[in-house]
């Protein structure tokens, strides 16, 4: 690291390549933002490339006064918070017994759980179970059948395993029950790991579109991603809209909706980045 700060051809080329990488990931977002705050005429004339033309916030007003979108936004917030809470509760509690070396049947449970990562029977049988349980068209269809995420369960289990066994023994000697140990000692000590998997849950729920699409029928229950899909993406078999996607909704309004849908994710993105990297590495270590 030290004494290596010469400009070399290699260093310059490398920097240029990396700048190109950064631009290619950031540019689409900047462009979408620019379009969302430009006036419709300039967009149609093709004057917007990076900076907004004819700055205005009409598009955002349109979005807010469209009854469907604020409703969908609230739905997404509700589904995401409920889903993340249920995931955190069920996954973190399930991981605790598995982290105890003496836990009865531990090997069997682990095998049964890991096996499910390979036995994935597909959409139809899952749908039938949800239908049988009468969960269709309710938030529970999105939350309960995915209450525990296997990969995250394994991450949390290894995290608990690395916790000192002595703390637990001391608590046991003091007469604490397993429930107390879990909720008063183990979980508070696991905040970093819980934050990490919690972000996976949060982003997973926020971005989820396929499950709400198949499990919800009532349009008023749609989360943002499903409404976005209806606004932005032509419908199957409707070939008149294939030719011009803008036939569905004005460009600026579409982009304003995209931006609004991205904001929460972008806000937690700096934190998410840190924890995601940790999560990925924890997962990789399991390998």
């Amino acid at each position: 690291m030290v004494g290596q700060r010469r400009f070399t051809v290699f260093g310059v080329v490398n920097a240029l390549i990396l700048i190109a990488v950064a631009i290619s990931t950031l540019y689409p977002l900047l462009y979408i933002t620019a379009v969302s705050v430009s006036d419709t005429a300039s967009v149609t004339k093709g004057e917007v490339f990076l900076w907004p033309h004819g700055f205005n916030l009409e598009a955002y007003k349109d979005v807010l006064f469209d009854p469907k979108i604020p409703r969908a936004y609230l739905n997404t917030i509700y589904y995401t918070f409920l889903g993340t809470f249920i995931n955190l509760l069920f996954t973190s509690v399930a991981a605790y017994p598995l982290s105890q070396p003496q836990f009865v049947g531990r090997k069997f449970w682990m095998l049964a759980i890991v096996l499910t990562m390979f036995l994935q029977p597909g959409i139809i049988p899952n749908f039938l179970i949800v239908q049988k349980l009468g969960l269709l068209d309710s938030v529970w269809a999105l939350v309960i059948p995915n209450a525990i995420w296997t990969f995250e369960l394994i991450i949390l289990k290894s995290f608990y395993e690395n916790m000192s066994a002595q703390i637990r023994e001391a608590a046991l000697i003091d007469g604490a029950s397993e429930y107390r140990i879990l909720f008063n000692i183990v979980l508070p000590l696991s905040k970093p790991a819980l934050a990490s998997v919690g972000l996976f849950f949060f982003i997973g729920h926020w971005n989820s579109f396929f499950l709400p699409m198949i499990y919800l029928n009532d349009q008023w229950k749609y989360p943002l991603q499903v409404v976005l899909r209806g606004m932005l993406i032509f419908h199957e078999g409707n070939s008149s809209s294939l030719v011009d996607a803008s036939a569905l909704a004005p460009q600026a309004k579409k982009n304003a909706t995209i931006i609004l849908a991205m904001i929460p994710v972008l806000l937690i993105y700096p934190f998410a980045q840190k924890y995601f990297a940790k999560g990925v590495m924890l997962g990789a270590e399991k390998g």
């Binding site: 690291m1 290596q4 290699f10 260093g11 490398n14 990396l18 990488v21 950064a22 990931t25 950031l26 689409p28 093709g46 399930a94 017994p97 598995l98 105890q100 003496q102 836990f103 009865v104 449970w109 759980i113 890991v114 499910t116 390979f118 036995l119 994935q120 029977p121 597909g122 959409i123 139809i124 049988p125 899952n126 039938l128 179970i129 309960i144 209450a147 525990i148 397993e178 926020w206 971005n207 989820s208 579109f209 396929f210 976005l228 932005l232 993406i233 032509f234 294939l242 030719v243 011009d244 996607a245 460009q251 995209i258 994710v265 972008l266 993105y269 995601f276 590495m281 990789a284 390998g287």
Partner: protein
């Protein structure tokens, strides 16, 4: 038996905490496996799973002898194959190049930027693709027009579907997948670089003779495991990007199951196709893991 009972008595609190987990996996992970028997029945919502008549391999025969089978197999395989082969080198390259950057804020900035698409939903990514490629307003066509070309209708042209799918995969995943390689580089013994420097190696030579060999085990494991899951094509993006004009190149097993099985309520037929897909995917994953272990690397388990 007595010891088992004693163990259960000893662990009763842990077991109580574990009950939701057992119920969950039994109901939502093993339950659907039971539901798969409808692939061998003529299931209808009114008769239920148990009372529907057995029909043996009828649905499988219909599927294998129909025109869809070969099409789906080819599309699923090709999409997965191209996505794997074309996108695989990029995270490795990005990690190596990032590792060569000595200016910390710049390294951080590029990494943060390259990482961004990971957090965007597939709906948003797909809608960006559609917007950018739109024949009237899309920025790609505007650029083509500026250069004197005609506008192209990318999304209804079957020739463009696979390139669009693969390119957007590269765009979305490169930054995220680079993490694992960056971590592997960080694990390379620094004395190797020292030795190389003493021997007069240039930065490029060190990349070639130290970094790359150091990465090789990781590259191998990641590659093999990715081959194993190649068959699990990102069907959500296909679902969002395809349309009746591109079904011939874009339709994969999962989208077919969704369309024929769920939308048209052919539950048994859909379950049969889904079962076939799951079996192929499982065999590929098990095979990949076996190869990975044989080569002396680590397996997935």
């Amino acid at each position: 038996m007595r010891t088992l009972l004693r163990k259960i008595a000893r662990d009763r609190q842990l077991l109580i905490l574990f009950i939701p987990c057992i119920v969950f996996y039994a109901l939502f992970r093993y339950g659907p496996l039971y539901g798969l028997i409808i692939a061998f029945k003529d299931y209808s919502v009114y008769t239920g799973i148990l009372d529907s008549p057995w029909v043996g391999f009828k649905h499988f025969e219909r599927f294998f002898s129909g025109p869809d089978f070969f099409l789906l197999l080819r599309n699923t395989f090709l999409l997965g194959f191209f996505a794997l082969i074309c996108s695989f080198p990029f995270p490795i390259l990005l990690a190596i190049l990032l590792n060569e950057v000595r200016v910390r804020w710049f390294k951080k900035f590029v990494q943060t930027a390259s990482y961004l698409p990971t957090f965007l939903s597939v709906v948003i990514i797909s809608s960006m693709i559609i917007d950018f490629l739109s024949p009237n307003n899309g920025i790609v066509n505007k650029l083509l027009n500026l250069m004197g070309f005609e506008s192209k209708y990318f999304l209804i042209d079957p020739a463009w579907f696979r390139p669009i799918y693969v390119l957007s995969d590269i765009w979305a995943n490169t930054g995220y997948e680079a993490i694992i390689f960056l971590a592997a580089i960080a694990g390379i013994n620094p004395t190797l670089y020292e030795a190389a420097r003493v021997d007069g190696a240039s930065r490029l030579r060190m990349m070639w003779h130290v970094t790359l060999p150091g990465l090789l085990p990781t590259i191998l494991v990641v590659f093999i495991l990715k081959t194993g899951s190649m068959f699990r094509v990102g069907y959500e993006k296909v679902l969002l990007l395809y349309n009746s004009m591109t079904y011939d190149v874009a339709d994969v097993f999962s989208t077919f199951v969704y369309r024929k099985g769920l939308l048209e309520s052919n539950y048994s037929y859909g379950a049969a196709v889904g079962l076939f897909e799951a079996l192929v995917a499982m065999v590929m994953l098990l095979g990949a893991n076996l190869i990975s272990k044989r080569l002396g690397g680590k397996g997935l388990w």
